[in-house]
Symmetry: C2
DNA sequence: GTCTATATTGTGATAGAC
DNA sequence: GTCTATCACAATATAGAC
């Protein structure tokens, strides 16, 4: 098996993710990534040519994880309750595993907004599908009338924000007790979907 | 009047805010700030000694605007509906005037979490006051039982997230039409408070 | 107070030996 | 493929003339 050649590459990617997640593009140093990977700066350039290209590899991956995959389910023919529960549960579970993603993606999106256009096209995102799914539930009288865009953003906001604002909220509301905050984030899986369902039920 | 001496200082602060908001601490360059202020790099150091001190002046101000002042009202004896409406309305109105604040504060908080502790102490934030206000409404049977921490975070998340994620959401959901997005943000004043009230009413 | 010039260090990137 | 040495330039900060 020819895994040897991709081995170093994987180590670099892991180290780069660690550093880029923590410091962002501008704050990260190639030297720091090399240290983290236990090798030399020159090797990073050998494998990825430039800091930019290395970053792109990390960002693209993170961005795809940040965009909920579960969206298709929003258009299935299960009940609204079930759709929301599945979505929120899956989304929060995903983010808990990589909690640095939201603030990382949000930050870098702000640093380089142009990047988004390209990414969106590659991923073939279709929010309209979600909207029509929501609209159908409204028309069928399953939930109260609400602008689908507001509802979608509400769902994402309630799921993502506690991760993006973690350094602040954990300090303000939990005396910086990270164990307590983690427990709180787990609770939100049920809490958020109930909050949403309560709000739109007829 | 001795405004002349503080005049240059104000120009610097304005330029620094512009650049720091756009690029963050790591991305900002003293040269760029000097250009924006129409003066020389050396002057920035003359007035603020270092990039760090200049940044601190900007951040402290932004952070205080980001933390909602309106919290006291959450403990007044008006109805829950009115409290939420006032809070959300005031908060979103404030952010609309300086929409870059959320992502700026969130980013820099993540870059330097230690900073928070000091800031919180200086500001004398007391979330417990809000919690007891919410708890009282629950005990009085005005709203359904809900963990006050979840409710508070929900309120803030729904208000702030659309600003933090603006580059993404405006592109994804509004074809990058900033006018439409701005209209959408204005709508949220009513939308968000209604969403919350619906969710917790008995 | 404000400028020009410069010191000093940091940082991405490449050349070239092994 | 991996390392050491180094280039070229960018960036914060200061010295010193006006």
């Amino acid at each position: 098996m020819s895994l040897k050649e991709t081995d170093t590459e994987q180590i670099i990617l892991l180290a780069a993710k660690e550093i880029f997640f923590k410091k962002g593009y501008d704050g990260a140093r190639m030297q720091e990534i090399a240290d983290e990977a236990g090798m030399n700066k020159a090797l990073l350039h050998y494998y990825f040519r430039s800091k930019d290209k290395l970053f792109e590899a990390i960002f693209n991956d993170a961005f795809q994880k940040f965009i909920p995959r579960v969206v298709e389910k929003m258009n299935s023919d299960t009940s609204f309750e079930e759709k929301v529960e599945t979505f929120v549960e899956n989304y929060i579970t995903t983010i808990i595993e990589i909690p640095q993603i939201p603030i990382f993606v949000l930050t870098e999106l702000h640093r380089n907004p142009e990047r988004i256009v390209g990414m969106m096209k590659k991923m073939g995102i279709q929010p309209q599908i979600i909207f029509s799914g929501i609209q159908k539930d409204i028309d069928d009288g399953k939930i109260r009338a609400i602008n689908p865009r507001h509802l979608l953003i509400n769902i994402i906001a309630l799921s993502v924000f506690p991760f993006a604002a973690k350094p602040l909220l954990q300090n303000m509301l939990f005396d910086n007790n990270s164990g307590e905050y983690h427990k709180f984030l787990l609770e939100r899986k049920k809490e958020v979907s109930q909050f949403i369902i309560n709000s739109v039920k007829i």
